[in-house]
């Protein structure tokens, strides 16, 4: 249990742009994950992902850790940005593109 939390902390700390999703970016297993990954890929920066369907420990423990009950979850520079609804809305307003670009620059510094 505590090992899982450590793993989560490491993943979130070490990946400036991190998506927890169902399936993979090329083969999402859920419409909400598909829509989120589509918006993220459209930002044109590299990002890390974790497939929670093949990582049941993550799936079981991240919701409580994040105070966020569902997947997908987008984390940028250690902060929870939100799920499909928020990411989609931010993409439409252009906020997501700005956020992702800034995170990519910070990661490469």
């Amino acid at each position: 249990m505590s090992d899982v939390i450590e793993t989560l902390k490491e993943q979130i700390e070490n990946n400036a742009i991190l998506l927890y999703m169902k399936g993979s970016p090329n083969q999402p297993q859920c419409g909400f994950s598909a829509r989120t990954v589509q918006a993220l890929m459209a930002c044109g920066e590299r990002f890390a992902y974790v497939d929670v369907l093949s990582n049941p420990d993550v799936r079981a423990n991240l919701p409580a850790y994040a105070n966020w009950p569902t997947f997908p979850q987008l984390w940028v520079q250690g902060e929870l940005i939100g799920g499909c609804d928020i990411v989609t809305e931010m993409y439409e307003t252009g906020e997501l593109q700005t956020l992702i670009k800034e995170a990519a620059v910070a990661q490469n510094d």
């Binding site: 169902k22 999402p28 297993q29 859920c30 419409g31 909400f32 598909a34 829509r35 369907l53 105070n67 966020w68 009950p69 569902t70 929870l80 940005i81 939100g82 799920g83 499909c84 609804d85 928020i86 989609t88 809305e89 931010m90």
Partner: protein
């Protein structure tokens, strides 16, 4: 009480002034007829004005966490201040198409 009615009353009790729109989208998914598994919820209320997006979602998730742990598989949330709702011409986005999984 149906899950739909429970969801609606939890939100209305917490935000008495809110506009609450709730759609059962379960029929679009790979679940039996009459299921109550997939919902889209729109809430428009003044209280959201000063809250960042993540806080708004956490506030609503907190009202229904037992349902999300149990029967409800997906709950799309569209949470706006009255001003944002006007700017959106009083429309919420539609939910994504199901990809066939039942989880």
């Amino acid at each position: 009480m149906t899950i739909e009615a429970t969801l609606r009353s939890r939100v209305s009790d917490a935000f008495p002034q809110a506009l609450v729109l709730l759609e059962n989208e379960s029929h679009k998914h790979n679940v039996p007829d009459g299921s109550e598994t997939h919902f889209a919820l729109t809430v428009v209320v003044d209280a959201f004005d000063s809250m960042p997006r993540v806080k708004r979602h956490q506030a609503v998730y907190g009202l229904v966490s037992d349902l999300l742990d149990g029967p409800v598989h997906a709950l799309a949330l569209h949470l706006y201040s009255p001003e944002q709702w006007r700017q959106r011409s009083q429309q919420s986005p539609s939910s994504p198409e199901c990809l066939g999984g039942s989880r």
